[in-house]
């Protein structure tokens, strides 16, 4: 697959992306390197893996990381209870050596996402989501899989990948990822999109949204992002949620009143909401006309304030 085809596939999947993103994906794919994607929450990191799976026509295997995730949940686990039952049932009936061998066979092996991804006959896209939520020990455990495409199971030995998965790791930078893991990956950082791009995303993902409202929403969201006092910046996911909510309410024009009533869809932190409401009151406090929205506090005043 070349660059142009890959870009076309992404467009078909309605993932609005630029040449830069497609080049990064192409490089990672051609070099067979895992791709580490960082960026704020909600900018479309996970979506890249999903779209990539569709574009390449592969299955998506997802491993959601969390604190305390270990190999028994991510790689494999022996079905211990089933093994015990088998021992009791076959005691005295089967040859001892044969029984022991059979206990460590595929029948008793519970495959978890990592093992499933490398034992699959057809190559898959493996998404290791929010790697920053897992412990450092788990990162170290991943190194063998990511660099040599193999895992070691003491009872069986080393299992080599039957097909090489395209691995996507995502991180919200909640904690720093180790250098060893970074070295094995190609790297992509996703920034918040430019207003034009965000507008295109909004049109693609919320079809039927009023054009003027879409522009107002994007302008307001960018105002929030530029406001340093807002700690949790709204992401694309929040923009889409807000647009859907406003569309469902039948809103066609983003006024101060509407902003006050619906700001919870776009800002998810009480302190941030208060900051915005205070700024709106401070700079538009005397203006009770419900004017169209937008200024430095994250909103545009439209024609009335200029």
């Amino acid at each position: 697959m070349d660059l142009v085809t890959l870009k076309q596939k992404f467009e078909e999947e309605k993932y609005i992306c630029d040449d830069h993103l497609v080049t990064v994906l192409y490089v990672a794919l051609q070099l067979g390197r895992p791709l580490l994607i960082e960026g704020a929450a909600g900018v479309g990191k996970t979506e890249i893996a999903k779209v990539m799976a569709d574009a390449l026509g592969r299955d998506l295997v997802r491993l959601q990381c969390y604190e305390g995730l270990d190999e028994s949940k991510s790689l494999y686990e022996w079905n211990y209870q089933k093994q015990l039952l088998s021992i009791q049932i076959n005691m005295g009936k089967t040859n001892e050596e044969e029984l022991t061998r059979s206990l460590f066979s595929d029948e008793y092996l519970l495959e978890r996402p990592l093992l499933r991804s490398i034992r699959s006959k057809k190559p898959v896209v493996l998404l290791i989501d929010e790697i920053d939520k897992s412990d450092e020990e788990f990162e170290a455990f991943l190194l063998e899989l990511l660099s040599d495409h193999q895992v070691s199971i003491p009872e069986i030995g080393t299992i080599r990948a039957e097909s090489i998965p395209f691995v996507v790791l995502t991180s919200n930078r909640a904690r720093p990822i180790s250098d060893a893991l970074r070295r094995r990956c190609a790297y992509l950082y996703i920034e918040y999109p430019e207003p034009e791009k965000e507008l295109r995303i909004l049109r693609a993902k919320v079809p039927g949204v009023d054009e003027r409202l879409a522009v107002q929403i994007v302008s307001a969201v960018h105002g929030f992002r530029d406001n340093e006092a807002i700690l949790k910046k709204p992401s694309i996911a929040e923009t889409l949620d807000w647009a859907s909510a406003l569309q469902a309410l039948g809103v066609r024009d983003l006024t101060q009143e509407i902003l006050k009533d619906t700001v919870g869809f776009v800002l998810k932190n009480n302190e941030d909401i208060e900051t915005v409401l205070n700024s709106v009151n401070a700079c538009c406090g005397d203006d009770e006309t419900g004017d169209r929205y937008a200024c430095h506090c994250g909103h545009s005043h439209g024609e009335s304030h200029g």
């Binding site: 660059l3 497609v22 604190e67």
Partner: protein
């Protein structure tokens, strides 16, 4: 999107040799900038350039950045190096023009300095070209002051300026270094600001009053997160390691002797004791709010902690006061040590000599200070003594690491203990996570 055009093979190979050589140089430049690049990365870069070709500068840049830069910081650094290395023709012309202008301006400055210094009594002080250039950048007021000082004391046997030439030069050099530091600040401010993370990557000393509540909120969230991580680590699910036979058999009794549930041995955690020595002198006032929060955060995460505050004198903070931030803040401000000069040597001596001993091999000494202290030799001696007594010594410095090279005090202390920069909230968070995990024996 532009993709490689068909080009005769010989030309491609010749071009390729040239670009490979360029790539090797480029890799070494990136290494010099602190980006870790191994043979694998260089090989990857070659492979991908063979596939993509060299024609489209943007594609080459993105491909190389994907291979070489492994973090956001690396990306910013990569962009800077790439843009100055792989120049377009217009850029080359612009640089030549700029260099020409800068050389002319320099020559002009030296000539002007020669004219101004001729016949004055300052000629012997500014003899090299670099000094003359620096002289020409001084304001007229400063130049006059220099002349006045020299006029007043020339011929004076005790205060003859010639006797103090070295001192004048050192003051002059320091002022140039400070200017350089400010210029670096300005450039870094543009390059390293991460728009999404904003506040947590900004220098704490540049915070405005309106930023402080948000920053405090961030620290509180961080404390909750670190406590969560540590608790989670202490209570690992533990399906690995050595089997605990006693517990396994005991649990097996509940199921008629069948060992359905296996217990594993847990590693015994050896908690380290934390001794925090915090500078609350005048030079640290800007950081005090954050430092006090930071101490509270650490004491929450690590229960076995003793906190000492010092400026010219030293006192131990009451563990009870630490539980409430407002009470702790008031307590520190009324303590009498707040906002005065700094005497680290004296404070550390007290700790080192205290009976029963404060420091032992199982303790970690954490010094939070900007390292600006009187009697530095005394301080160095006491840090070395403390290092011999304590298991580990960490120094948290609120001055950004890039400025340490300009400060002799920071340089000296960095040589004798592990110095961690905590000039931003992000660095403060990383430091706390590292220290708290270390204190829990993990």
């Amino acid at each position: 999107m532009h993709v490689t055009a068909v080009i005769p093979t010989e030309r491609v190979m010749a071009d390729f040799e040239i670009y490979l050589e360029k790539l090797r140089l480029f890799s070494s430049l990136l290494r010099a900038e602190g980006i870790q690049i191994g043979p694998n990365e260089t090989a990857d870069a070659c492979r991908i350039l063979l596939m993509l070709g060299f024609e489209d500068r943007d594609i080459v840049k993105t491909a190389l950045r994907t291979v070489f830069a492994k973090s956001r910081r690396d990306q910013l650094c990569f962009d800077r190096v790439f843009d100055s290395f792989f120049l377009s023709e217009e850029m080359l012309r612009a640089i030549d023009q700029k260099r020409l202008e800068s050389n002319m301006a320099r020559t002009e400055a030296i000539e002007q300095a020669n004219r101004e210094l001729a016949g004055t009594n300052l000629e012997s002080l500014f003899y090299s070209e670099a000094q003359k250039e620096a002289y020409s950048q001084l304001s007229e007021e400063e130049k006059q002051r220099l002349r006045r000082v020299r006029d007043r004391f020339l011929g004076d046997e005790i205060r003859n300026p010639d006797l103090y030439a070295n001192m004048i030069h050192s003051i002059f050099a320091r002022s140039i270094m400070e200017q350089q530091m400010l210029m670096e600040d300005a450039a870094l401010g543009r390059a390293s600001v991460d728009p999404e993370m904003g506040m947590i990557y900004r220098d704490i000393s540049e915070f405005e009053d309106s930023d402080i509540p948000k920053a405090v909120l961030y620290i509180q969230q961080l404390a909750a997160r670190i406590n969560g991580e540590l608790t989670r680590k202490r209570k690992r699910s533990g399906k690995t390691g050595m089997i605990d036979f006693r517990r396994t058999i005991r649990k097996g009794l509940e199921t008629g002797g069948m060992l359905f549930r296996i217990s594993y041995r847990r590693k015994r955690q050896r908690r380290r004791q934390f001794v925090i020595l915090c500078d609350v002198s005048g030079s640290m006032i800007r950081f005090s709010e954050f430092v006090l929060r930071f101490i509270q955060l650490l004491t929450e995460a690590v229960s076995n902690t003793r906190v000492f505050l010092f400026s010219e004198e030293m006192m131990e903070a009451d563990a009870f006061q630490l539980q409430n931030m407002d009470r702790f803040r008031e307590y520190v401000r009324e303590s009498g040590v707040y906002g005065r000069g700094t005497h680290l040597g004296r404070a550390l001596k007290k700790i080192n000599d205290q009976k029963p001993p404060v420091l032992s091999s199982g303790s970690t000494l954490l010094i939070i200070s900007d390292a600006k202290t009187v009697e530095q030799d005394h301080a160095v001696r006491e840090v070395l003594r403390a290092r011999a007594k304590a298991g580990r010594v960490f120094w948290l410095n609120p001055i950004p690491q890039r400025k340490w090279k300009y400060l002799k005090s920071s340089q000296t202390m960095e040589e004798i203990c592990t110095m961690i920069s905590c000039s931003t909230l992000s660095e403060l968070g990383s430091a706390c996570r590292r220290l708290a995990a270390g204190a829990s024996g993990q």
